[in-house]
């Protein structure tokens, strides 16, 4: 229903013309579909929450809007010269929290330990960290259980709190939902960030003003003096609010409204490829599938069938018809900015129904088979429509696909509970390194790894190579392993890549910004035109 509603709204809006009231010079009114869930920066590792946190709190190392690593609350970082298992961080001096407390190494030790605690949603990013210790007022050492060359990449969303503030307000622990607790940190914020929280009513309005004591004044544009954030869930309403000038910036312009927004006076569209690839996974590991019509065998276990499906998907047609040009067809399940990605890997096979049919024949499935495809309908851009298109494409090679589209809350448990044989998934790589892809999507599912591997794929050789990535400090050798892993993955066709999503931000002409590939807006970089 939502989709149809949005399309209708777009059709309506497409016929209108209006004048946009000039945006107030310093206040930026910001809207997006989702609301931040909490103010506790270690409680929810989830896009909209992290975005809000980035305005108020800061991590040691920041990923700027272009995707590069920049000093945040740490000014420099390097592996210890004496011990390869230790990273040494020099902490920025003279920084104060919004409530006036001074920031020092003790706060870093406290914050990282808090992020490591069991109720924290960020602890997996710090796997392997055994100790965090202060080595002076402005030096912190992080000890890992083996060399960890990528630790800095994992710190970009882990925010720093004031140890004293947390102790005073009895909020040292991350909120534990199971215990039915309500914590101070979930409702109040005291960061070092560029903006100070003024007021917040969840699902209604969050107001922040510029931090006059921010260390980065002069270093960053900091043109915004006030941010008013409002979640607007309905896509048609959100676009209407941008068109009427009631908001200055929306983070998610629906694809069907792009032309409307682009054509409106006083509003522009900022577009960039997103760090998120969309693909299909298949149950390649089981002896037999549950939701197919083949008895006693698993067609997906045959690589020829998977290859046939790979070339039967017309990625360009999906891009042009379903996505209205707003996607980049992909040949590998890695977004381009990720270390390990190469243009060669991303070359997708030519669409070839004849060759696909021949492969199916060769595999003994010349008459095809039927299977169920599980698809989310509220998670990715046009997710259900992509699945519908693929159903038609696979029908051409005799695979009779029964599509089951469900909301995300029902779709994702199917993957983690091994209850689906054929499913859609999207993957973003916040660490910008391919280890993250292999760890979660290719490694055999165990207690700590392979938690998103719904394919039942299990390859001991590959697992060993993946495990070696964690502690290999020789970056060239490590990159070699990644390349070999991608080659193996390509050979096996465990996943069928579709495309990388494209982000579309709608913004008043008064402001300019680059589009962050992770959809993580950082308002300190916004410039007034």
């Amino acid at each position: 229903m939502t989709m149809r509603l949005a399309t209708f709204g777009a059709a309506l809006l497409a016929t209108t013309a209006l004048t946009v009231s000039a945006a107030s010079a310093e206040t930026l009114r910001w809207a997006r579909a989702s609301e931040a869930l909490t103010l506790d920066p270690h409680s929810q590792n989830e896009g909209p929450t992290t975005t809000l946190m980035h305005q108020i709190y800061e991590p040691l190392i920041v990923r700027n809007m272009e995707g590069g690593l920049e000093p945040g609350l740490a000014t420099s970082w390097e592996p210890s010269s004496s011990d390869p298992n230790v990273w040494v961080f020099q902490i920025r001096e003279g920084v104060t929290f919004h409530e006036g407390q001074a920031f020092d190494a003790e706060d870093v030790v406290f914050s990282l330990n808090r992020a490591l605690s069991e109720a924290s949603d960020f602890k997996e990013l710090l796997t392997g960290v055994t100790e965090v210790r202060a080595a002076g007022d402005f030096t912190v050492e992080v000890v890992t259980d083996g060399p960890n060359p990528l630790l800095p990449n994992n710190l970009t969303n882990i925010m720093m709190l004031d140890a004293g503030w947390a102790a005073e307000n009895n909020t040292e622990e991350v909120q534990d939902y199971a215990a039915g607790e309500d914590t101070y940190a979930a409702r109040n914020a005291n960061g070092t960030g560029p903006f100070v929280l003024q007021s917040r009513t969840a699902d209604v309005e969050t107001v922040m003003t510029q931090n006059p004591d921010y260390w980065g004044i002069g270093e960053f544009p900091m043109d915004i003096t006030e941010i008013i954030f409002t979640p607007i869930q309905n896509p048609a309403t959100r676009v209407a609010a941008l068109l009427t000038g009631e908001v200055d910036f929306i983070q998610d312009v629906p694809v069907q409204d792009l032309e409307r927004v682009d054509g409106a006076d006083g509003i522009g569209l900022a577009t960039a490829p997103q760090n998120r690839v969309i693909f299909f996974g298949m149950n390649v590991g089981d002896e037999d599938l549950t939701l197919d019509n083949v008895e006693g065998a698993n067609p997906f276990a045959d690589v020829r069938v998977r290859r046939a499906m790979d070339i039967a998907i017309n990625r360009e047609a999906i891009q042009q018809v379903v996505m209205r040009g707003q996607s980049a067809p992909a040949g590998v399940i890695s977004p381009p900015p990720v270390n390990g990605w190469t243009p060669e890997l991303d070359e997708y096979p030519a669409y070839d129904v004849e060759a696909a049919r021949a492969l199916m024949e060769e595999a003994g499935y010349g008459d095809g088979f039927s299977v169920q495809l599980d698809c989310p309908n509220d998670r990715y851009i046009n997710d259900e429509a992509i699945c519908q298109a693929v159903v038609g494409m696979l029908a051409q090679i005799g695979i009779d696909v029964n599509l089951s589209a469900l909301p995300r809350a029902q779709h994702f448990p199917l993957i983690s509970n091994f209850e689906t044989d054929f499913y859609m998934l999207g993957w973003g790589v916040p660490t910008y390194d391919a280890e993250y892809i292999f760890n979660f999507l290719y490694h055999t599912q165990t207690e700590n790894r392979g938690s998103w591997n719904g394919t039942r794929y299990s390859n001991p050789e590959m697992d060993e190579m993946i495990a070696s990535l964690t502690s290999n400090t020789d970056l060239d050798a490590r990159n070699g392993t990644i390349a070999a892993l991608f080659e193996m993955a390509e050979e096996e066709v465990i996943y069928l890549p579709v495309h990388n999503q494209v982000l579309n931000w709608g913004i008043s002409d008064a402001w300019s910004t680059v589009v962050d590939a992770d959809d993580q807006v950082k308002f300190k970089y916004f410039e007034l035109n």
Binding site: L18, Y177, A186, A240
Partner: protein
């Protein structure tokens, strides 16, 4: 009499308990809250641990029992989505929904009665026929469509009214109101019309048919024969007798205005309990869903109970 009341109250409690049981049996089909609560980097171990901690592995009737035990002690739990006590969130959101329901109820009742009388008196007039035809649209168009249509015309096209939100509200401590600020009042217009349009056409058609019925009665004819003015006949004698069923229906409809504000609130990003409920479903926020459903059923059961008791008060035959 006391016996009757007691029986009705007991029946109401039973209905509430059954509603809760059905709700809890349904929650498993909404999805798994653990998936939405944990981030992308969650491991299989994390999923198991959180499921265990939240008691999601238990059979639904045990989860329901635990909810009831805590609920009667006044503890509705902590929202999975917002991490705050559910009772506090609902108390914070209820004023928005109640104010919206009040205004749209007023709009529906006021305009519905006026138009109903008009179309009954001018039964064959062009204007009355036009109104009747238009009212068909009000009955048949889905709410979200009307909402978007209104946004398009009055916000985007004419730039007269805001497209979303509640405007500025005044916090009275235990209640937030939009009635005291200009932007709060203006923000009420479009959502109230959207929500009330269906009820308005319903009341209008009800008043019209009742009125036509009454106008045919002998005492109206006698009133006319006595030479009373048209105004006195229509408004003093006919309308009064028309209103009895209208009041009954309106009372029952008030419950559905509050319960079905969900779609209107989503279209206008109106921060009421309906929007809260939609978000709770998307997130599989079981404590909020449970509390909302119980709240709505308490309300419906309460209204029905009140109506039943009123009947007893009005109709002496039921007392024996």
């Amino acid at each position: 009499m006391l016996n009757y009341i007691l029986r009705r109250v007991l029946q109401s409690v039973l209905v509430l308990l059954v509603v809760g049981l059905v709700a809890f049996a349904m929650f498993r089909f909404v999805g798994d809250p653990v998936e939405t609560m944990l981030g992308q980097e969650r491991t299989v171990g994390d999923i198991e641990r959180l499921r265990e901690q939240l008691g999601l592995n238990k059979p639904f009737f045990i989860q329901y029992w635990e909810f009831l035990v805590r609920a009667v002690q006044g503890d509705l739990g902590i929202s999975y989505r917002q991490g705050r006590p559910v009772a506090e969130i609902i108390a914070e959101r209820l004023p928005a929904t109640l104010e919206l329901a009040f205004v749209s109820g007023l709009f529906a009742l006021g305009l519905g009665i006026i138009l109903g009388i008009f179309t009954a008196i001018r039964r064959d007039g062009f204007a009355a026929n036009a109104i009747m035809t238009l009212s068909l649209i009000g009955v048949s168009l889905p709410t979200f469509l009307i909402g978007i249509l209104l946004i398009y015309v009055f916000s985007v096209e004419l730039s007269l009214l805001p497209s979303f939100g509640r405007g500025d509200v005044v916090d009275l401590g235990w209640w937030t109101t939009g009635f005291l600020t200009p932007s709060g009042l203006v923000a009420l217009i479009l959502p109230a019309i959207t929500l009330g349009l269906y009820q308005m056409t319903l009341i209008m058609r009800l008043v019209r048919s009742e009125m036509l019925e009454v106008l045919r009665q002998d005492y109206i004819r006698f009133a006319r024969a006595r030479g009373l003015s048209q105004k006195a006949v229509n408004f003093r004698h006919a309308l009064k007798n028309t209103l009895v069923p209208v009041i009954t229906v309106t009372g029952l409809q008030l419950g559905s205005i509050i319960a079905f504000a969900i779609i209107t609130e989503t279209v206008f990003q109106w921060p009421g309990v309906g929007l809260l409920f939609i978000n709770a479903i998307q997130f599989v926020d079981i404590p909020v869903m449970a509390a909302y459903l119980m709240l709505i059923s308490v309300m419906f059961v309460g209204i029905n109970l009140a109506v039943d008791l009123l009947y007893v008060a009005i109709d002496p035959r039921l007392r024996n």
